[in-house]
Symmetry: C2
Subunit: 369 residues, 2 copies
Amino acid sequence: MEMETVETPVAIVDLPTVRRNARRVADYALQHGIGWRPHVKTHKSLGIARIQLESGARGLTVATPREAEVMSAICDDLLLAHPPVGTARIQRVLALPASVDLTVALDDGGALDTFAAAAEAADRRVGVLLEVDMGMRRVGVDDLDVLVELAGRCASLSHLDYRGILFYPGHIRDPGPAGEADFQELRRRLARTLEVLHGAGLPPRVVSGGSTPLLYRSHELEGLTEMRPGTIIYNDREALAAGVARPEDLAYTILATVVSAPSPGRVVVDAGSKALSREEFRGPGGGYGALVSPSGVLVGRLSEEHGILDLAGLDWAPEVGDRIRIIPNHVCVSVNLQDHIVVLDGDRVERWPVEGRGRLPWTPGEGDL
Amino acid sequence: MEMETVETPVAIVDLPTVRRNARRVADYALQHGIGWRPHVKTHKSLGIARIQLESGARGLTVATPREAEVMSAICDDLLLAHPPVGTARIQRVLALPASVDLTVALDDGGALDTFAAAAEAADRRVGVLLEVDMGMRRVGVDDLDVLVELAGRCASLSHLDYRGILFYPGHIRDPGPAGEADFQELRRRLARTLEVLHGAGLPPRVVSGGSTPLLYRSHELEGLTEMRPGTIIYNDREALAAGVARPEDLAYTILATVVSAPSPGRVVVDAGSKALSREEFRGPGGGYGALVSPSGVLVGRLSEEHGILDLAGLDWAPEVGDRIRIIPNHVCVSVNLQDHIVVLDGDRVERWPVEGRGRLPWTPGEGDL
């Protein structure tokens, strides 16, 4: 396969950068004695997950049954960080290979009972982390009395193994001064949560947290035993803005072709919302993606299959047929639009499937390219 | 297959509504002597395209090579409404079955020459529509002298068949009073464009336009020979807001399950930006989707696999395990996230593939469920 003839729009992944990103996180985790359980929702690829495991990940985090099925082919320690609710989903999760040590996250008493009954019927013992809200106001218990009650209930159910707590501080996007007050509040909430659980005789063995922006502050969260960053393996404009990645850490870009330049200052590429996703950048400049080169040029408008570059005030004027590379704002949702990635490793150019994309049950070998 | 056990989040398509939507457009097109060439980017499904063709569509519009490959299995009259630029894409388009009467849209002289040379090398004659900008400022020529030059060039190239012009008035979202000035400007621009082409001895045989919002005003565009609405087959919140669809015309919804209700007023479902897409509603209320029932409830926040309902000021409080149906803001980008749809037809419940999703080459039978 030759880069020159690769059809666009397409996701390009630089494997040496992926390996370097994995090693940096692994080194940090090792240095601080924190387990690294990367969230595979970012890449959804067996090949990338293998690199994470070889670099020292202690297990993997998944969000969907399909991601769990795919990753069970190479990893026997999976955390499903999304509540298993609903008969079909529960059955599917419990049907994972018996070799998998499965942990699920829950935050509801009724859901806990239903899941426990299904686990008993399937004769499968499953670990449970109780999800705690640390300020994001998404899933997660925020009343510590309720948490203690849930933990006690969980510990008493025969096929559930109460392992501890899980949280996702996704509301803190800036690990620097702008997020400092929220970070200190997170530290206080976590300390209080652990104190209450210890006091109730239900100490958590696992305290699972960590997002990409807060990744390198994980050691400041006392009691944290593992972290689950996703984005850091590829990085994106948000990771750059948060300061956790440098331009040379960007492993994933969208290669696009200029398909129209019908009047001065108007340049249209073939990467639109069906390649990049429409998540407007919340930082300076806005836009739907940034060009690798020339640096600072933004995708200013998006249609489904068109990206319109914002060239106001620039001398640069690409021509129809030229190719550009775009840094997505949020890599996880761009990956979710791809059925394959084109992987570069030195001189090697290969197509890899994105096995975890979609919702249908996965069978090994399916989608191999 | 039973609806009760369908795993969520999942796209549900009501087939009788699809058939009714198709018939209404077909009736309008017939009444006004305008050809109906639906854009399949909305549904990307062979099964839905079959209904459109059986209802009287004169051919199909596609945006990507894969959509063209899929639709070539059931239709021999395809319009690729996206510029075929780039060696790989051109080769793939020219490799469509010889039985397909293919038309492509272009707006650039260099791209026209390149495509003509490739068509000659492939010994394939291809129809061309020249894309004209009518105010959207995306692709499309806006200088009529340039248009005449392109049309003359196209007419002179041996393997290209100059057929006429194409435009997409996507900047007009409201067919009512709010969009009236823009609509009248569109009428004037179109009239002037046709006058100039006729004056140059290059009269277009095909004048292809029409979006879902302006669908039922197509007959007011003098000289229009065909229209390419996509959304109208399924409809969405935008189509409701534009007044071209009524609630009973909504054929596509996302079925979701409440997975968490951790504190009063906070209810989280399993449909997030990877099921709905993150396109904020530009009309009243905003949000990322609206519940079918209770009517008026919105998805107020989205994560990748979580939707957080906006329940402020409501009495309604669903419980963990309850199911809801969500009307997406923009159905085309939600469909693009699905590898399958669940189709309802009276008592029948079936899984259909979304064959046109993705970018890899398609082979017949692939993805059958």
